[in-house]
């Protein structure tokens, strides 16, 4: 497996295996092998190599929070920062258990976009006022509370337009 610019060189078989795993990570090597027309030992070797090299980071369960009875609120914070402090602010946010996702974005100003979970509006405000606003480099914050979710999909090989074409072409052959 070759490395270039911190990426791992994968071939079409690897991508097809990843796609199968993202579809159902609990299926057996034999089942993947059968659906892709390759030996289960090949599937096993490829998966182990991709796990070793960090291409496959972990296998996890996707939970529907609403069905667990959790009444949390989710909000998106847009944090305007001093460019010199932006990385430090983002790293500090990553340590807070209330923060689910952190991104930086460069539009007209340098922004940090973070997804935050809280028990209610008051605890959300308390967290932002006592733990986010005081961080050095934070200039101002805009927060939008999410009222309805229409779609939420984790990154998938099948969402990558380039790979999607590749996978479809292979399966049509």
């Amino acid at each position: 497996m070759k490395f270039k610019n911190n990426t791992v060189a994968l071939d079409s078989t690897d991508f097809r295996i990843l796609n199968a795993l993202q579809d159902n990570a609990r299926q057996t090597y034999t089942s993947i092998g059968k659906s892709l027309g390759i030996a289960h030992s090949t599937v096993y070797d490829r998966i182990k190599r991709m796990e070793r090299h960090g291409v496959i980071k972990e296998y996890t369960a996707i939970i529907d929070a609403e069905k667990t009875g959790a009444k949390n609120i989710i909000a998106i914070m847009t944090i305007f920062t001093d460019p010199k402090e932006s990385d430090k602010v983002a790293k500090k946010l990553c340590k807070a258990p209330q923060i689910l996702e952190v991104y930086t974005s460069l539009s007209e100003e340098l922004l940090i976009i973070a997804k935050v979970v809280a028990e209610n509006q008051e605890s959300l405000h308390e967290f932002i006022a006592s733990s986010v606003a005081p961080l050095p480099g934070v200039l101002r914050i805009r927060t939008s509370m999410i009222t309805k979710k229409f779609k939420e999909t984790p990154f998938s090989i099948a969402n990558n337009p380039k790979q999607l074409t590749f996978i479809k072409e292979k399966s049509n052959k």
Partner: protein, 118 residues
């Protein structure tokens, strides 16, 4: 008069204890105050929406009582919270109450420093 108490109320706070001005839940204006002196100045600078938001939630009162530990000023702000004032009037009243208290504390502290026997 109590020199220790006046100095405590007038002290400059660490960043994490400052008052941060928001306009609504989670929307931080970028304005903050690390002391009573700075708080007085900010009353005339921050937008009305922020003053309204904090006054009627009781945030000013809470910060004065719990962080600056000025129960007297907290009580005064509590009275103001119960009144329904127009926007300009609210800013003026808020400024009058807080600046009066600030001037009172600083002049008392000045007298105590000049004459420690008071």
């Amino acid at each position: 008069m109590n020199k220790k108490m006046n100095s405590r109320i007038l002290r400059t706070l660490p960043r994490e204890k400052a008052f941060y001005f928001f306009t609504s839940i989670g929307n931080y204006t970028g304005e903050s105050a690390v002391s009573l002196k700075e708080f007085v100045e900010k009353i005339n600078e921050v937008n009305m929406k922020s003053l309204n938001f904090h006054l009627y939630r009781g945030d000013f009162q809470k910060w004065m009582a719990e962080v600056l530990q000025d129960k007297e000023l907290a009580e005064e702000l509590g009275k103001l919270q119960k009144t329904s004032l127009s926007e300009d009037s609210l800013r003026n009243q808020l400024y009058a109450v807080v600046s009066r208290r600030y001037n009172e504390l600083t002049s008392q502290l000045g007298s105590l420093r000049k004459n420690p026997s008071i």
